[in-house]
């Protein structure tokens, strides 16, 4: 009973969820009975469901049975249904990094500088647009954000962690 190569990422995903669920169950025990009753119930239902999901990925007879029971499809049919896009971990990591940098930037120095910089860099370096095109959209976006949120709606857009507490 093993999990075929192409279903491995799905299996890792399930294992991560399982770890979170176990953390959740362990945390629950520090609360009073009324407070932990429902969470524990939910947590303990999650464990077998996740294990079933994991089993359904294997190339065994049981796996096939589980898959057919829940989805009326064999694992092979499920494979065929899956999104055909090829995804590489490196590619995904790179995009997470871009997004992470944006959020970190917003946290540190606020929305107003980060917005145009992010739009410009993405257009220029990921989209391959010219300097001019990238700059136009960057300026357009920041003007939209500034006019709508700061001027019309009178929000004080987050200015970054330093200015927020000490400004």
């Amino acid at each position: 009973m093993r999990i075929p190569e192409h279903r491995r990422p799905s299996a890792y995903y399930i294992l991560i969820i399982l770890a979170v669920v176990i953390l959740f169950i362990v945390t629950s025990y520090q609360y009073k009975i009324t407070d932990r009753m429902f969470p524990l119930m939910v947590g303990y239902v999650a464990v077998p469901l996740l294990l079933l999901d994991l089993l359904a990925l294997t190339d065994s007879k049981i796996g096939e049975k589980i898959s057919v029971f829940f989805s009326a499809k064999t694992p092979k049919e499920v494979d065929e249904d899956a999104d055909p896009t090829k995804r590489t971990l490196g590619q995904e990591l790179l995009i997470f990094l871009w997004m992470g940098a944006l959020v970190l930037g917003i946290y540190l120095i606020g929305f107003l500088p980060c917005t145009p910089v992010f739009v410009y860099c993405w257009m220029k370096y990921r989209g391959g647009y010219s300097v001019k095109e990238s700059a136009y959209l960057a300026i357009g976006t920041i003007v939209f954000v500034y006019v709508l949120f700061e001027l019309i709606l009178q929000y004080e857009l987050y200015p970054g962690i330093f200015l927020y507490w000490y400004g």
Binding site: Q30, D35, W165
Partner: protein, 334 residues
């Protein structure tokens, strides 16, 4: 002649003010003042803060705006903490919910502010409680019925540690009744509805909120459609012609209720504080504002800065007696 004297008097008082106040107070307010709201839009605090803003602007000279800003979070703690960490320049003010905002300080929880250190500007409004039962489904028609039943009473209420729960606990403890609480309602209007539909027998309600359950066409006692008062917490005469806690010899209980007191960042220069407090008092006593309060069932209860500060002290020392009840209901098991 008269005008000369007046001018002279103004000139003199101006000189006196310049001499006594630090320079920065003279041109206060220069920037917009943020009137923080510790809860989301739509509730009582939101409404009264927004209504008060324009009056404050008027009495501060009309040059700067009073910007209302919701900062909900931590059941009100976030806004108070934010206020406490501002520069003490009078640029931020907040209407505190007392005693709710004092609870973390009383039980020694980390709160990021201390109500004993806040610079208090004055009180805007207050409410006191009545006990109500369902007009149609109520099993206990009078307070005597309740006192006889003792432990079978069920009370729909917000969670342990909230102002409403606490007031209930202190009240029934004093009257020797051990009710069972049905907790979890998110607001007083929700638990009032709980009583109307028969989830429980009776509950505690602010007088102002109660009035919205009263039919307006006939303002007689007979016209209470859904909820019927059975006890009023006051040392005075009952507004609704029901027994009062004062008559039952429980004078201490009259402090139970809620006070909406405006404060600013600790350490604000006295001149700025005085100017804000003065404008606040004038706003709260403005006939137009008073009329509005009466119309919507939220009558004003102005107190000046000194009296408000004293009141906070009294509230603190009153509730601190019940620290154990409070802490027990607020604590996690960890």
């Amino acid at each position: 002649m008269i005008s000369k004297i007046t001018t002279g008097a103004i000139a003199l008082s101006t000189i006196a003010m310049v001499a006594s106040a630090p320079a920065q107070a003279m041109d206060f307010p220069k920037k917009n003042i943020t009137f923080l709201i510790a809860y989301g839009p739509g509730g009582g605090f939101d409404t009264i803060t927004r209504k008060l803003g324009p009056y404050l602007k008027k009495y501060l000279g009309g040059k700067v705006n009073i910007v209302a800003k919701n900062l909900p979070g931590g059941r009100g703690k976030k806004a108070a903490q934010f206020l406490a960490k501002r520069k003490p320049d009078g640029s931020h003010i907040l209407m505190f919910n007392m005693p709710g905002h004092a609870m973390p300080n009383i039980i020694g929880e980390k709160a990021g502010y201390d109500v004993r250190k806040i610079d208090w500007l004055g009180r805007v409004a207050q409410f006191r409680y009545i006990i109500v039962t369902s007009a149609k489904k109520g099993k206990y028609k009078t307070i005597q019925d309740v006192l006889k039943a003792k432990s079978q009473i069920k009370i729909p209420i917000t969670g342990p540690g909230t102002t409403g729960y606490l007031a209930s606990a202190i009240l029934w403890n004093a009257l020797g009744v051990q009710p069972k609480y049905i907790t979890g309602y998110k607001s007083s209007s929700r638990y009032a509805l709980g009583v109307i539909r028969g989830d429980g027998d009776l509950t505690i309600l602010a007088k102002g909120s109660f009035k919205k359950y009263v039919s307006s066409k006939k303002k007689k006692r007979a016209a209470f459609k859904d909820l019927k008062p059975i006890l009023e917490i006051t040392n005075g005469k009952s507004e609704f012609g029901v027994p009062t806690t004062g008559e039952m010899g429980q004078k201490d209980l009259a402090i139970l209720g809620g006070d909406r007191i405006v404060g600013t960042t600790p350490g604000t220069p006295k001149a700025i504080k005085d100017k804000l407090a003065d404008a606040l008092y004038k706003s709260v006593t403005d006939p137009e504002f008073v009329a509005w309060g009466n119309k919507v069932g939220r009558p004003v209860a102005p107190l000046n800065s000194a009296d408000a500060t004293k009141l906070v002290g009294q509230l603190y020392s009153y509730y601190v007696q019940y620290k154990d009840i409070l802490a027990a209901s607020n604590k996690k098991t960890r």
